[in-house]
């Protein structure tokens, strides 16, 4: 299964933290720092797999990541997942984000961190992959967005300050 999905930038600033096994905030931050320190020093010519992250899952776990512009997309998985398969999955996830945000960039992820979570939940649920079809993913995300809209319209009428709450 997938143990964790992390997105952070080159400086280690988190853009998304998702752990499918409950961990307290301090441990999560520790892991984030550890994984960032491991991943950020690797040049793009190195392979995208790292073995045995000590703090999460021990020797069974592997870190699989992809580097896009300023961001690292990191999946921590156990041995039941295929390394190359997960690399493809990260690509699918990023393409899904790209569809949702139309030319996704780091700023989109910063200001819509909840939306990133919602996109991820259409791809991975509770550590298992539920959908790999790009069309189905973006349709599900779109449907839910639609559903959330009326409430947002309402708030816009009542309170201008919430305008930027949901894109």
């Amino acid at each position: 299964m997938i143990r964790s999905v992390l997105i952070f930038n080159q400086l280690g600033k988190p853009r998304l933290i998702k752990f499918y096994e409950p961990l307290d905030a301090a441990t999560q931050q520790g892991l984030l720092r550890e994984i960032h320190s491991l991943v950020a020093k690797r040049s793009d010519s190195l392979c995208n797999f790292l073995e045995g992250c000590q703090s999460i899952g021990g020797s069974d776990s592997r870190i699989i990541y992809r580097h896009y512009a300023t961001l690292y997309f990191v999946f921590v998985v156990d041995s039941s997942e295929s390394e190359l398969g997960i690399l493809d999955l990260i690509q699918v996830f990023v393409e899904a984000l790209d569809r949702v945000f139309r030319n996704v960039c780091e700023l989109d992820l910063i200001f819509h961190f909840d939306e990133v979570h919602y996109v991820l939940s259409e791809v991975v649920s509770a550590g298992l992959v539920v959908e790999t079809n790009l069309k189905d993913i973006s349709k599900a995300v779109g449907d839910k967005k639609e559903m959330a809209k009326p409430a947002q319209e309402q708030s816009r009428l009542g309170l201008g300050v919430l305008r930027r709450g949901f894109a």
């Binding site: 988190p14 010519s45 995208n48 039941s80 190359l84 493809d88 200001f111 079809n133 559903m147």
Partner: protein, 858 residues
């Protein structure tokens, strides 16, 4: 009251980089107020902000109750935000979780598809055993939902529920099986994912699903799912070997047909790991030839590890290692490619390549490979002359500029070091260059790999043992990581087993021990200490193979010896005794006045070295009490008594020997005193051969012998006696006890407890004085019949003088035979001694692993 939206918070955070924590603190206070408000919009927005801060590392557990409130909101966007916050914040012990059960049940039953989906996702993440029990039926009912989107999420959710509520498995598995027939491919794919996870826990239960999965593998076009199925089969084939035959067809088809590298890789991997490659059905390759399935895999695998893409290269090597274990013949001709992989900048790839390399080395390529690996150790940044030595590292840190040795690097010879006895440092490279060869784990892996390929199958790859010894010594200098134990094990192993190389080995050990740069900086923990102890043992045990040099005695009693721990000191002192007696025996062969003088001077200098050693080893307090009479023998005994038992016993033995020699040679004589000639035979009467680690256990316990029964009465603990009772009635030295001394005493006692001769006693009996001891005359003495003993000894000697190949094992015979078959280089005539059993051992056909630990103890 309402201060900022989520966007405002994020913008504010970005604007106030300088005092971020202060900004967050004020925001948190605002949020604390906002979550208390009755308006759900504010509450929900506050939870959203809090969730964002949680990502930055700020705890949000305090707002758990408010999260539940937001989850209960009737608006979808708020509900969703609430569930998201819950999945991020809740854990198994969260107390408000019990409040959510009914809430989730209501959402699961909602007519709104999206709400059901959000509830399923949320429940899957936060589920507790109680919730799993309560909600299992509800979720199971959702499996019949009309929308595939909900069905697939329900499957995943149920998987998490049965993890907490295993009783639900009986109801779930049939449904899971039905889900494999679902018309929607996403549902089928999710079902496969769930089966894969469940089968990891208990594969037997999911064997009945194999035919269906097999069918899916053939019919589906979803690569993600096919990868999952192929991986699942890899874990099922060990349980059901017949599956391998079944998989042969579809796997070979997929390997030939698929364009997706990830699927191709998993197919090959499963074929290799699941042992499908050994199914004896030929396949046709792309040019129509009939080949072995294993060959097909090997051919396709080349595309991975020869690829420019490092990811493909890495996974290719992983599978190649598996393939090598099953079909080494298919891997051997890839030598050049794999060696090339050692130059990749990627550590993971190098490590994998190392694994494969060790297995594919042959007699022909061994030297070349080892040289290549050693050059990687040398050319990295971190090599230092005493890399294994902590103390020395500190020295390096303080004056690293002073000792930038600029030797020339000789890579042309067989050995990198031994030609000069010194290894060479390249100029330190710039810090910015991160060389994977600097990584300690990689260096350790290189050393492991070298040792493995050299000693594999009783040294079947080895053509030149002197080169091997030199390589091991080189590694001592250049390893740069803690491999001391491994190196000393190998040194001892090859020296003991291969008789022909012993002389050279002793020479190299002597060189190692005379290297001040190593010897002066040893500490008990440093890896070099282990190597040096072994070197001392080898020099002592086999010193007779070389012309005796009196300087060896000094080598084995260096001033830095006091820094080692008791066990290590004992090894050095014992070796020094052997070397000394051997030298005595040697010079007695041409006895004259000059030799007499030499013996006198060496003996007296050895004695003074020993007494210096004793006084520097011994307790500080004891030393203070005896500053006046250094050489007084009474004081000597007092000092010795304060040392660890294994050290003091050997020091005392050596000291008594030198004393006896100095007495015997007090006057010049025409011929050598007998003691000089005979002493060395104390150590050479029996030859030590490698003993199997299990040898002792094969000797049956004689009838009537109870090993747990103590022999005789416990001996009183004399270890506490520091001073003999002095003539003047003096108060006990213990009166001066300071915390420092107590600490030292405690440590000493601990040391002794670990000693081989420690006989435990009550704490109270510690401070016994000499007077309490039984009178010497009371000790019963049994008369020994010496004549009988002597005849037994000569028997043994006669037996030994016959030429014999000691304990040549069946295994090494076999490996010799296989060496004969290999075309080149020619087999060498070297005996590699196998392990011996003890006399009287019960016959046991099982070949024991080589272990020479037993000889080291001697």
């Amino acid at each position: 009251m309402f201060e900022k939206s989520l966007s405002d918070l994020i913008q504010g955070l970005r604007a106030s980089k300088r005092n971020e924590s202060q900004y967050i603190q004020t925001s948190l206070e605002e949020i604390q107020n906002e979550v208390q408000m009755s308006d759900m919009q504010y509450k929900s927005a506050a939870i959203d902000k809090l969730n964002y801060l949680h990502m930055l590392g700020y705890d949000m557990n305090w707002a758990n109750f408010n999260i539940v409130e937001v989850m209960a909101s009737s608006r979808f966007n708020e509900k969703r935000a609430g569930y998201l916050a819950a999945t991020q914040s809740f854990h198994q012990e969260t107390d408000v979780l019990m409040l959510t059960t009914n809430l989730i049940r209501k959402d699961l039953a909602s007519s709104n598809v999206m709400e059901v989906s959000v509830a399923l996702d949320g429940l899957a993440q936060i589920v507790t055993p109680e919730q799993a029990t309560d909600l299992f039926e509800d979720v199971l009912a959702i499996l019949g939902h009309s929308r595939p989107y909900i069905r697939k999420k329900a499957l995943v959710c149920l998987y998490r529920l049965v993890l907490r509520y295993p009783e639900g498995l009986h109801a779930f598995v049939p449904q899971l099986k039905d889900a494999l027939d679902d018309p929607d491919p996403s549902v089928v794919s999710s079902a496969v994912s769930v089966i894969c996870e469940l089968a990891r826990i208990n594969p037997h239960n999911y064997m009945p699903l194999a035919p269906k999965l097999y069918h899916l593998l053939n019919s589906s076009t979803n690569n993600w799912m096919r990868i999952k199925i192929v991986k699942l089969f890899a874990s099922l084939t060990p349980i059901e070997p017949r599956l391998a035959k079944k998989l042969h067809g579809p796997l070979s088809q997929l390997i030939k047909a698929t364009s997706a590298m990830s699927l191709l890789y998993e197919c090959i991997h499963t074929a290799v790991v699941g042992d499908v490659i050994s199914v004896p059905i030929p396949v046709t390759d792309n040019i129509g030839r009939e080949i072995d399935f294993a060959e097909l895999c090997a051919q396709n695998l080349v595309r991975f590890y020869e690829s420019k893409d490092h990811n493909l290269c890495y996974v290719g090597l992983v599978t190649l290692a598996h393939l090598q274990a099953k079909r080494p013949d298919l891997v051997v001709d890839q030598y050049d490619t794999i060696i090339g992989c050692l130059e990749y900048p990627d550590l993971s790839i190098r490590m994998r390549a190392l694994e494969v390399i060790a297995g594919m080395t042959t007699r022909r390529t061994l030297t070349m490979t080892v040289k290549r690996l050693m050059s990687q150790l040398i050319l990295s940044n971190t090599v230092s002359l005493q890399p294994n030595n902590k103390l020395d590292k500190d020295r390096h840190a303080t004056n690293s500029n002073d000792d930038d040795a600029s030797f020339s690097l000789d890579t042309s010879g067989t050995s990198l070091v031994s030609a000069h006895g010194n290894i060479v440092l390249p100029q330190r490279m710039r810090k910015a260059d991160v060389d994977p060869a600097d990584s300690p784990e990689y260096r350790a892996a290189i050393v492991d790999s070298i040792l493995d390929m050299c000693s594999r199958q009783s040294y079947s790859n080895m053509t030149n043992f002197e080169w091997y010894i030199a390589t091991l010594v080189d590694l001592v200098y250049i390893a740069g990581v803690d491999v001391g134990q491994k190196l000393s094990d190998k040194l001892l192993d090859v020296t003991v087993r291969v008789r022909q190389v012993r002389e050279y080995s002793v020479k190299m050990m002597r060189r190692l021990l005379s290297d001040k740069s190593i010897v002066e900086y040893i500490t008990p923990e440093s890896p070099n200490a282990k190597v040096l102890c072994t070197a001392a043992y080898i020099l002592g045990e086999y010193c007779a193979l070389l012309p005796a040099i009196s300087g060896d005695i000094g080598l084995l009693l260096p001033a830095s010896l006091t820094r080692l721990n008791g066990e290590q000191q004992a090894m050095f002192i014992q070796a020094a005794t052997k070397v000394y007696t051997n030298w005595l025996c040697d010079v007695s062969g041409y006895w004259n006045n000059e030799v007499w003088e030499l013996v006198r001077s060496v003996t007296s200098s050895t004695m003074s070295t020993l007494s210096a050693l004793i006084s520097s080893c011994a307790d500080v307090e004891a030393k203070e009490a005896t500053t006046t009479t250094e050489t007084d023998s009474v004081t000597m005994h007092a000092l010795l008594a304060a040392m660890p038992l294994q050290v003091s016993a050997r020091l005392r033995q050596f000291f008594e020997i030198t004393k006896a020699v100095s007495v015997a040679t007090s006057n010049p004589s025409d011929c050598a005193p007998r003691i000089c000639l005979e002493l060395h035979s104390l150590f050479t009467t029996y030859e030590l051969n490698p003993v199997s680690a299990a040898a002792q256990s094969k000797v049956p316990v004689p009838e009537g012998l109870d090993l747990d029964q103590p022999i005789g009465n416990p001996i009183p603990d004399r270890s506490r006696i520091v001073m003999p009772p002095s003539p003047k009635p003096q108060p006990r030295p213990r009166r001066h006890s300071s915390s420092h001394r107590d600490g030292k005493d405690g440590k000493l006692r601990e040391d002794r407890k670990n000693g081989p001769f420690y006989l435990g006693g009550a704490e109270g009996s510690n401070a016994r004085s000499l007077i309490d001891l039984p009178d010497v005359d009371d000790i019963p003495v049994v008369a020994l019949d010496l004549s009988e003993e002597r005849s037994a000894k000569t028997d043994k000697k006669n037996k030994k003088s016959k030429p014999r190949r000691s304990g040549k094992s069946a295994k090494s015979d076999k490996s010799r035979k296989s060496r004969m078959c290999s075309p080149s280089p020619p087999p060498i005539s070297v005996d590699i001694a196998g392990d011996e059993d003890m006399p009287g051992a019960v016959a046991d056909d099982k070949q024991q692993l080589p272990d020479v630990a037993a000889t080291q103890k001697a």
